[in-house]
């Protein structure tokens, strides 16, 4: 006869108390296992959702990036086809020049010093290649009775730090005159003819073909002579810059930035062509795509962060709630088990007293009570873990399906998402420990009780 045989026989004798005790432990353990399963499932779902959202976001961004790339390629392609990247022309004008005046009447009334062009040619500009200072004035050619745009041009002022470049356009030499199409066709003038302009004689050296622009109504003479004729010594109206080499498609911006520091008091406008306008719209499209990408990125990130934050909060609340609930259930179960053990010990007073009378030691009595609770703890833990695990599994399946509704891939949760092995071991150890705690006080009472008082009172 051993203590353990006594325990087993007693359990089989008083089944109700044993079963109720077992239920106490099993329920508590089931709740604990279930709660941990629940939290782990939630966390697995959060993780999964996060990955889904991240993937979606990345996909979106990828699409946007493709769009941007495509817009960039289109732009480059267009620019290459139309020779835009090779260079284009800008006008450098006095800052206070009204563009309205320029566009309505073709006149430029404001001036700046001719020295500006030299300043520019001496500066180490990189964005522009060829500089042409000009005076331009709309006037009536009295001698011929026709309105013209008189343009005094000096030809290229070489940019000093890059002198190797060959001049683009020849100077109009002193005393010579070049005529636009309208002028020479209307006046019936030929190369070699001599004409008077404001009392000064010029020889016609070149006639231009029809261009369909204001060039057709333009008369070109040497800059110095034009300045004298118009009384604008050392003053010019504009600098024409040809072939601007710019790295980016925002040419104007780039040039403006460079010139602003060298020539304050000027402004620049681009000599527009239709091709350029189209290029610009493409550039705009590319910029829009870029901006949209940036916006998408930003809003996507905030959305992801928000979602993450919400899930985190949800999980925190859930974990707080379950912790409180579980603590409560564990305490209740321990008390319940303690009361059941106490009841059991009360029922066994006689047998304990008689065993004590026969010399059975109090620690042996303690062992029978505690050992019984240990069995309850272990069996209860097994049952509870099984129940909690099964319930958790049902929940995991349901919850996974719910969470993945509307996503391409369904979410299947695995056993490891429910419980880590270590937490199961911990629960498995916790239940017997709680059972021991619950049984400790009643067991101590039973083992300390004076057998005489029981044996006597029953006599």
């Amino acid at each position: 006869m051993s203590v353990w045989q006594i325990i087993i026989k007693e359990i089989r004798h008083r089944k109700l108390n044993f079963c109720l005790s077992l239920v106490a432990v099993a329920v508590a353990v089931a709740f604990l296992t279930g709660a941990i399963s629940l939290l782990n499932v939630e966390s697995a779902i959060t993780h999964w959702l996060q990955n889904q959202h991240q993937a979606e976001f990345e996909k979106k961004i990828e699409l946007k990036q493709e769009e941007v790339q495509k817009a960039g390629q289109e732009l480059t392609e267009f620019a290459r086809k139309n020779g835009l990247l090779l260079g284009f022309n800008i006008w450098i004008l006095p800052e206070n020049q009204s563009l309205n005046e320029l566009h309505v009447s073709g006149e430029i009334s404001q001036t700046f010093p001719e020295s500006y062009v030299h300043k520019l040619s001496e500066a180490k500009v990189v964005t522009i290649n060829h500089l042409f200072p000009m005076v331009i004035e709309k006037l009536t050619w009295e001698e011929k009775g026709i309105d013209i745009i008189l343009t005094g041009t000096q030809g290229e002022v070489p940019i000093l730090h890059r002198t190797s470049k060959k001049p683009l356009q020849d100077q109009v030499p002193t005393g010579s005159m070049v005529l636009g199409y309208n002028i020479h066709s209307e006046l019936n003038l030929k190369v070699g003819d001599k004409v008077q302009l404001r009392g000064k004689e010029f020889e016609i050296t070149e006639l231009y073909d029809q261009r369909g622009t204001k060039d057709d109504s333009t008369v070109w003479i040497n800059l110095k002579e034009a300045q004298e004729l118009l009384g604008r010594q050392n003053l010019i109206n504009a600098i024409l810059a040809l072939e601007c080499n710019c790295a980016s498609v925002d040419r104007i911006g780039e040039i403006r930035q460079e010139l602003a520091s060298i020539l304050p008091g000027t402004k620049i406008i681009e000599e527009k062509s239709r091709a350029l306008a189209r290029a610009e719209s493409r550039n705009k499209a590319k910029q829009e795509a870029e901006e949209s990408l940036a916006r998408e990125k930003l809003s996507g990130m905030t959305l992801l962060e928000d979602q993450q934050h919400n899930r985190d909060q949800l999980e925190q609340q859930l974990s707080f709630f379950t912790t409180v609930l579980i603590a409560f259930i564990l305490i209740c179960a321990t008390i319940w088990l303690g009361l059941l053990t106490y009841n059991n010990v009360r029922q066994r007073r006689n047998e304990i007293a008689i065993l004590r009378a026969f010399g059975v030691r109090s620690h042996q009595i303690l062992t029978t009570i505690i050992g019984r609770n240990l069995i309850i703890g272990v069996l209860g833990a097994c049952a509870g873990i099984l129940i909690g695990f099964l319930a958790g599994n049902v929940y995991a399946n349901w919850s996974g399906t719910q969470a993945s509704a509307g996503y391409e891939t369904p979410l299947t949760l695995h056993l490891t998402d429910l419980q880590a092995g270590s937490s199961l071991i911990l629960i498995f150890l916790l239940a017997p420990v709680l059972a021991l705690i619950a049984g400790w006080f009643p067991a101590l009472l039973a083992s300390r009780e004076d057998p005489a008082s029981i044996l006597q009172s029953e006599n």
Partner: protein, 232 residues
């Protein structure tokens, strides 16, 4: 001397208006091989005296000696060990363990640790239990639980349990109280035989039949031993 009590006194609820002196200044001797019966009316103090003599209830004054050792001078654990080796008890209410069979109940005292040199193997205990059960006519009931037994059978089971380790001293409280003549005879004869084998038996009872078997009979009334009459 197997058992010696000197001026043992036991009061209950002392210092209150309900104070009872259950055992008053009792001295007695019991030698090995002797069968002593103590008679007395209900409430006379028989059970109290037996608990005191058996090392289960500390007297307020006086000394008890069992085989030269004073149980109340020992620690609780040593006293338990003394009970385990020296004394067999039969209680008025039997106190059988309800979930053990007759034979398991008889073996149950084997749970208590035995002093070195006096250990018995499980088979030895089982053997001895079977012998006792047969002797008390319980062989057919060996695997029954106490709830399925008659009072007499329970009484005999309690006696068999007390004799498992052949203790030098057997203390029995009303072992024949609820028994018919036939059962009483079996129990008393067994005790008598036990004395013949060298055991000391102290039996407290208000059953007059016991006197026929006892070597000596004392009477206890109101906690006091009254007279000593040795049967002729």
């Amino acid at each position: 001397m197997l058992l010696q009590a000197k001026q043992a006194v036991k009061r209950f609820s002392s210092g209150t208006p309900n104070e009872v002196i259950a055992v008053k200044d009792i001295s007695l001797d019991l030698s090995a091989g002797e069968f002593l019966a103590i008679h007395g009316p209900s409430g006379g103090g028989k059970s109290t005296l037996l608990l005191i003599l058996g090392g289960l209830l500390r007297p307020d004054s006086g000394t008890i000696e069992i085989n030269g050792r004073q149980p109340y001078a020992l620690s609780a654990e040593d006293r338990a060990s003394l009970r385990a080796t020296e004394i067999g008890f039969v209680f008025q209410q039997f106190h059988l363990i309800p979930y053990l069979t007759v034979i398991e109940n008889v073996i149950a005292p084997g749970l208590a640790p035995r002093p070195a040199g006096k250990e018995s193997s499980h088979t030895e205990l089982h053997q001895r239990a079977v012998e006792l059960i047969e002797k008390f006519g319980l062989a057919a009931r060996a695997d029954h639980k106490p709830g399925e037994l008659s009072t007499g059978e329970r009484q005999r089971t309690a006696l068999a349990r007390a004799l498992l380790f052949k203790p030098p001293l057997l203390l029995a409280d009303e072992p024949t109280g609820n028994l018919d003549d036939e059962n009483a005879r079996i129990v008393l004869t067994a005790m008598k035989e036990y004395c013949a084998e060298g055991g000391g038996v102290l039996l407290v009872t208000h059953d007059a039949r016991a006197s026929e078997y006892a070597d000596r009979t004392l009477t206890i009334r109101d906690g006091q031993l009254q007279a000593e009459n040795v049967p002729a």
